[in-house]
Amino acid sequence: MTAPTVSVAKPPAAGTGVLRVVVTKVLTAIVVLFFVATAAFFLVRLSGDPVKLILAPDASAAQEATLRAGLGLDRPLLTQYLDYLGGLPRLHFGNSLVYDQPVSEVLLARVPATLELAAAALVIALLLAIPAGAFAALRRGRAGDSGVMAGVLIGQSTPAFWVGIVLILIFAVQLQVLPASGYGGFTHLILPAVTLAVYSVAVIARLLRSSMIDVLGSDYIRTARAKGLSTGGIVVSHGMRNAALPVVTVIGLEVGTLLGGAILTERVFSWPGIGRLTVEAIQNRDFPLVQASVLFFAATFVVVNLLVDLSYTVLDPRVRVTS
């Protein structure tokens, strides 16, 4: 997975520039996904034999052989690989070995829950982190800054599953105002989303603070101050926009973190998402399901990176014109 960097936006010619960037990016993405698909296929097969896990330990060797043939796992590895690659362009991922159901169905049923959780967490993270970071930057070195930074440090160094359990104990068990787990209405979303957001709040707030401090010390802010603009006006119209660039990069990375962090959070809150599904698929050695979920995660990263890259051209005119 490639991390987004500012330099990847190649100097495009005016007009067709954005399109060319997109085309290059999409082609790169396809190559990346091909390698991910191949790696997933071979790595998951190194982990062992799913038939042993599906059958009871007292199954006979003949019973194992029958099931293995039934699942198509007795075919040569190359045949299985080519079959799998052939299905990818049509989004055919085969049948889950354990659930005996098309993988695409199993996976798609779970995607909304994970996206919902990640999106809610991201919104919470931004709503908390942007004011906190800006506030700390403006109060640099003073008590307010120290306070925010201390809170942020705690948030960043606390494991998500622990935050989750503490939140459950307070809001579900003691106060009984929110459900402890499960999936359903808006109330079910609050605790897992907050749990998931805690780490991201910390990362984004810290970065915004330092980025903002840089910006506030620059010439054009001094000029703006000299023109007599209010602090609030300067922060909103000049500071934020210029401080946003590195923050956008990090938010892109955070989407990955949120999807990854969802694995633990989904378990603690019994959230029916893709993270929990993937962990179980790995434990069950459900080859087709592992392959498809790994591809899903990879595709999400690739798409987010692409969006981050494109957003530079909007946020920072210099990325567009430099050559």
């Binding site: 982990s47 062992g48 034999d49 042993k52 896990l53 599906i54 059958l55 009871a56 330990p57 007292d58 199954a59 006979s60 060797a61 019973q63 194992e64 029958t66 099931l67 043939a69 039934g70 699942l71 354990v98 659930y99 005996d100 159901q101 199993v106 049923a109 779970r110 989750g164 359990i165 459950i168 104990l169 579900a172 068990v173 009984q176 459900p179 402890a180 787990s181 499960g182 999936y183 359903g184 209405g185 109330t187 079910h188 378990r267 603690v268 809150f269 019994s270 959230w271 029916p272 998402g273 929990r276 599904l277 179980e280 434990q283 069950n284 050695r285």
Partner: protein, 515 residues
């Protein structure tokens, strides 16, 4: 199988109450409201670690799946409250010849879609299971060649070799009846999406990793369940499952470990219930290599591992010591055979006699989930001078090594456990005692003869004699270190009344719910 009288009256009272309730409870439930909020009405909510793998009962072979599916489907035989084999879809069974088991079916049973459950349906079900195209992971019917219709309500299971415990094997996996007409109409995939059985509950909705909902079947042959809706919730994390119990989102949390159960002690409104269980743990010893070839060394290990102490210290007392590896409730268990005395001094003397006055180094392999128990066993062995390094492996690796052709793949000593749900001692030894079995690491012609006698004889008295002799031999030769059978542990709130059987299956037809 009429329930006791007192229960009937209580159920009737609840049923009357139930008539007043639906107006309040059902509309919300039908609209798919959160099961966690608002009125729970006459609903029973059960949490266990995971979902059924599939809703097609012939395409799964694990107890977690069966726990849910047993509420939708019936089996030919079942287990009564006394854990004895009782009529299910079959009213009676006989063995007219050693290779045949004949089942007389209960008349008038219908599937949830109205289809009759007769000999045609039962024979179809068994034959579907046996068909390699079904890819069924159920292994119990390995000696059944085919099911044959004798008359409208009689089915024969024809075997390739005698199998005395077929009636026990069809009390769960393998004994499920599926509807042939419906399957023909919707196909296997459609059936797994919307299962139709003969059971006490009918299918409503399944959202994987979220919930499985069922409704009481008013036409159930065993009588309509006393509550309206049954919901299974998959909760992999015991802490959050217990939190859900405390915040009144579930009524029963099943399959808890003793240490998880301790978390909930002292909270009001919730309690821990433990019932006798049959999951039996033992250490398998590789008698083909190293010090463990000597019977005195194997006996020394049995004297050294202080099982009562282990149960008290690590399992919070929620287990029972077993003399050999047969659970007390299984057919074949002989109470006259007593556990090893726990005596470190004797263990050391036996080791010295065998030529190991300073003990020896070895290893003990266990699954990661059993790390506590493995560490404590290692500590107990160390007291007698046997220094066993604990090797932990994940479940997948463990299972692969267990069933591999290399019988030493899990090292000289490994910790194993087995749930012999057929309640027949055969289940505990079938794969690891006769010298030619997949997991056997012991060669004893006497044991082989006894295994043949108990596996191929249909007469119970003859089988019991073989089992008794086998237990004496197992204790004497000690190819295993015999440990304990662990309790089934549940955390419950004040609403449900339910008594699980020793197998621990979550069949809820007889449960009652108070609001």
């Amino acid at each position: 199988m009429a329930p006791p009288r007192s229960r009937l009256t209580r159920r009737d009272a609840l049923r009357l109450g139930g008539l007043a309730l639906p107006a309040l409870a059902l509309p919300g439930l039908l609209a798919g409201c959160d099961s966690a909020s608002g009125s729970v009405g006459s609903v029973l909510r059960v949490a266990q670690t995971s979902d059924p793998k599939t809703l097609d009962p012939q395409k799964q072979g694990d107890l977690t799946s069966m726990n849910v599916l047993i509420n939708l489907f019936d089996t030919l035989t079942t287990r009564g409250p006394d854990n004895q084999l009782a009529p299910g879809l079959a009213l009676s069974w006989t063995s007219p010849d050693p290779l045949t088991w004949r089942f007389k079916l209960r008349p008038g049973v219908r599937f949830h879609n109205g289809e009759p459950c007769d000999a045609k349906a039962v024979a179809f079900s068994i034959n579907r299971l046996l068909d390699p195209a079904t890819k069924s992971p159920i292994v119990e019917l390995r000696y059944v060649k085919q099911a044959v219709i004798v008359d409208e309500l009689t089915v024969d299971l024809r075997c390739s070799q005698p199998d005395p415990i077929i009636p026990a094997k069809v009390s769960l996996f393998g004994g499920v009846a599926v509807p042939p007409g419906y399957l023909k109409q919707v196909g296997s995939a459609g059936f797994a999406k919307h299962p139709v059985g003969t059971g006490p509950f009918t299918f409503v909705e399944f959202q994987r990793d979220h919930q499985m909902r069922m409704r009481a079947n008013p036409g159930y042959w065993g009588g309509r369940p006393s509550f309206d809706e049954l919901v299974f919730l998959p909760m992999p994390d015991p802490s959050s499952a217990l939190a859900s119990l405390q915040s009144n989102e579930v009524d029963i949390v099943a399959s808890l470990t003793p240490d998880a159960a301790l978390q909930i002690q002292g909270y009001t409104g919730v309690s821990i219930r433990n019932y006798p269980g049959i999951r039996t743990s033992y250490l398998s010893l590789d008698t083909t290599a190293g010090p463990l070839r000597d019977v005195r060394v194997r006996q020394a290990l049995n004297h050294a591992v202080d099982v009562p102490l282990l149960i008290k210290a690590v399992l919070d007392g929620k287990a029972r010591e077993v003399p050999t590896m047969f659970p007390r409730e299984s057919f074949g268990f002989d109470p006259s055979i007593t556990p090893y005395s726990r005596d470190v001094g004797l263990a050391k003397r036996l080791l010295a006699d065998a030529g190991f006055p300073n003990g020896f180094d070895t290893s003990l392999t266990a699954q990661t989930g059993d790390s506590n128990i493995a560490e404590v066993i290692s500590g107990l062995l160390a007291k007698a001078g046997v220094r066993a390094r604990v090797d932990l492996v994940d479940t997948g690796t463990y299972t692969s090594r267990l069933t591999s052709n290399n019988r030493s793949a899990l090292g000289p000593i490994y910790l194993a456990a087995s749930t012999g749900w057929t309640l027949d001692a055969e289940s505990l030894v079938q794969s690891n005692v006769r010298h030619d079995r997949r997991q056997s690491r012991w060669s004893s012609p006497a044991a082989d003869r006894l295994i043949d006698a108990e596996e191929l004889t249909v007469d119970p008295a003859g089988r019991q004699r073989a089992f008794t002799a086998l237990q004496s031999l197992l204790k004497q030769e000690a190819p295993f270190v015999f440990l304990y059978q662990i309790d089934n542990i549940y955390a419950v709130n004040t609403r449900p009344r339910w008594q699980p059987g020793v197998v621990g299956v979550l069949g809820m037809a007889q449960a009652q719910v108070t609001s």
